[in-house]
Symmetry: C2
Subunit: 389 residues, 2 copies
């Protein structure tokens, strides 16, 4: 419960830290140092009679590309300059300073805040005017993203959190904010995954898992928990309640990088399922700057595949007709640079289009209740030829 | 993790049970007995040459009322008859039998399933036709609700689960499916609340909490966790990710009934916040038949109140203008039978209308980051006159 004083090593071999979670030493951590450096430079500019400015990497499709070697979606080098003495940029410049100041205060206090809390904290009336620093959260959210890229820090490192969604169970012992948690002893509920899962907050202590199974929905996850899949197959069972939130993606990345666990995805057989896999594997276009610390390029797609209808002898009880949006999204997906050279993916998506229907993971239940956990997934785990990479 | 064999007493003094969670003895529990009794009667009718029928209490506004004595929204006595030999009712009759059969199978196997899994499991082509037993989940969901009312059993007792959403921390030790969980030692993530929290699954073991604080959103919840509110004030801190799902509502009810803990709500100052409070307190119109086991008539509304703007000296940074929907919903709310005789509630809602703005819990942060947890809520807890009942 809550954050406790920590006296433990981080699992990646970092040095011993004291004080509240996410607070590193007196200065509040790497991100704070970067904020202070940025602020110092701006003060120097101002004192030297130079128009203060920030350099912010451009977050737009034009500055995003797929790196085939690292197999992630990455941001390019294009940058924009945000000047203080510019009628069009002065407000955003001021907003950037306010958010940076707030993040620095959070770090020094060893606290974190939601993006909404960042908005409310940084909003005020500018003295002598009726002008607000921020009119709406839609103004502060992009500023947070600007700072992430400008400082090359994840939002979580700036002490800002997103919603916490998703849960996990499995043979893993870890420390969260000083509390030791055995994820194999959490009943039917599991561990609720917070938004900030950085090594300063969560340290892995003991892991007997052989792999990670990421399922799309909480209801499927419960099926696996109830059928003791994680115990029988020694795996970490995790869901993100649909499109996995940042905390879940970052944990998947850490499980893979630090614990060397393979990550397997079980998603619906529809364009949305393909898209979730794509985001888990190589990151998203919108948040390309996060890929290196969130993506898992080695993740495998175990199912549900368009070929499973015949492979598993399913009946038309499982069919859900594709609609127009599905068809156009599927056609987009096979044109993604990271799919377009992969014959097996093109076959997979084309088969779905030929089928004319999509299938949900839960549809496998139509065979019998435990078919999914006791036959389907064990078959998939055994036969690597069925995997999509 | 997963369900384990249980050898423990339930906290409400029920007898020792063995076997998987939710399975009571050989017959699979009370709900199963009711299903079997219903089935026996139908067979008896059929054998006796009588048109088999089911009696199903009517789930409609016409059959719902507020019981001012029990202070919950309750279903009336009106019933409909669902006959087998009726062109208009035969399909629904058949569907009711299929779902009842599925629930019985679940109970006997000691398993549970989602409403979607119930749909897929009960869907098949009727032999010799191209007709499906169910065309869509929108056909099976109301049948599940029919069975709940016909058998006077909660969905959870029929072994059907909804989505699991929400989390908790606090000075509470409980057993979930055989695993002992100390909710005061769950780090920053907390315990992910499952959909089924019946005494057969979750038994309370030790509680040092003095009250339960139910907050609306996960991001607010995290603010409280981080600021160690649950430790300082000895409370169970729980959120339902917006409108609380069934698992969270049932747990609130159990905390109140079994552990005798007062339940306090901290919700946004808007019609949606009032509505959430209303549902937690006296149940909902749509699911009136659940009120008696889900509602907490003694729950108190601690904030955010329309009077807090002046009371707390807030600035216009916190104001969000009411829109047309807000205004019409607010006017509806003061006409609810359970609000309309309460002067303080009418004052509260009318004040919001006069204010012309709504306020979020997170807006309190605009004072300073820990204002909410270290000043606002302690002030509310101290001064009962500020509570709304």
């Amino acid at each position: 419960m809550a954050k406790k004083q920590m006296k433990s090593n981080t699992s990646d071999g970092a040095t011993t830290t004291k004080g509240p979670a996410l607070k590193r030493g007196k200065k509040g951590g790497d991100a704070t140092e970067k904020i202070v450096r940025m602020a110092d430079q701006i003060v120097k500019f101002a004192k030297g009679g130079v128009d203060p400015y920030l350099e912010i990497p451009i977050r737009a499709l034009s500055n995003v590309s797929f790196d085939p070697k690292r197999r992630i979606i990455e941001m390019g080098d294009a940058k924009q300059t945000r000047n203080f003495f510019s009628l069009g940029q002065a407000k955003k410049f001021m907003q950037s300073m306010l958010i940076a100041k707030f993040c620095n205060e959070l770090a020094l206090a060893g606290k974190t805040a939601s993006i909404r809390q960042a908005y409310y904290s940084s909003k005020h009336t500018i003295a002598g005017t009726s002008e607000k620093t921020f009119n709406d959260q839609s103004e502060s959210d992009p500023i947070i993203e600007d700072l992430e890229v400008a400082l090359d820090s994840l939002r979580e490192e700036l002490h800002i959190y997103a919603s916490n969604r998703g849960a996990l169970v499995g043979p893993l012992v870890f420390v969260d904010s000083g509390d030791t948690i055995d994820a194999s002893r959490l009943g039917s509920g599991g561990y609720s995954i917070p938004s900030i899962v950085e090594p300063e907050v969560i340290q892995f202590k003991k892991c007997d898992a052989k792999f990670v199974l990421h399922v799309e929905k909480d209801t499927v996850w419960r099926r696996f928990v109830e059928d003791k899949f994680a115990v029988k197959h020694k795996c970490i069972l995790i869901h993100g309640g649909g499109q996995p939130p940042r905390g879940v993606r970052r944990l998947l990345n850490r499980f893979h990088q630090e614990l060397k666990l393979p990550v397997y995805c079980l998603l619906d057989n529809d364009p949305w399922g393909y898209y979730i896999y794509s985001v888990v594997k190589q990151g998203s276009i919108n948040l390309a700057y996060e890929s290196k610390r969130m993506a898992v390029p080695d993740a495998k797609f175990l199912g549900v595949s368009s070929f499973d209808y015949e492979r598993c002898g399913l009946t038309d009880d499982v069919k859900i007709a594709l609609d127009k949006t599905d068809i156009s999204r599927a056609k987009q997906i096979i044109k993604y640079p990271w799919f377009k050279d992969k014959k097996h993916w093109i076959k997979e998506v084309e088969k779905m289009l030929r089928n004319g229907f999509k299938m949900e993971v839960e549809a496998m239940i139509s065979k019998h209740l435990t078919y999914l956990t006791e036959e389907y997934l064990p078959m998939k785990l055994k036969d690597k030829k069925q995997w999509l990479d």
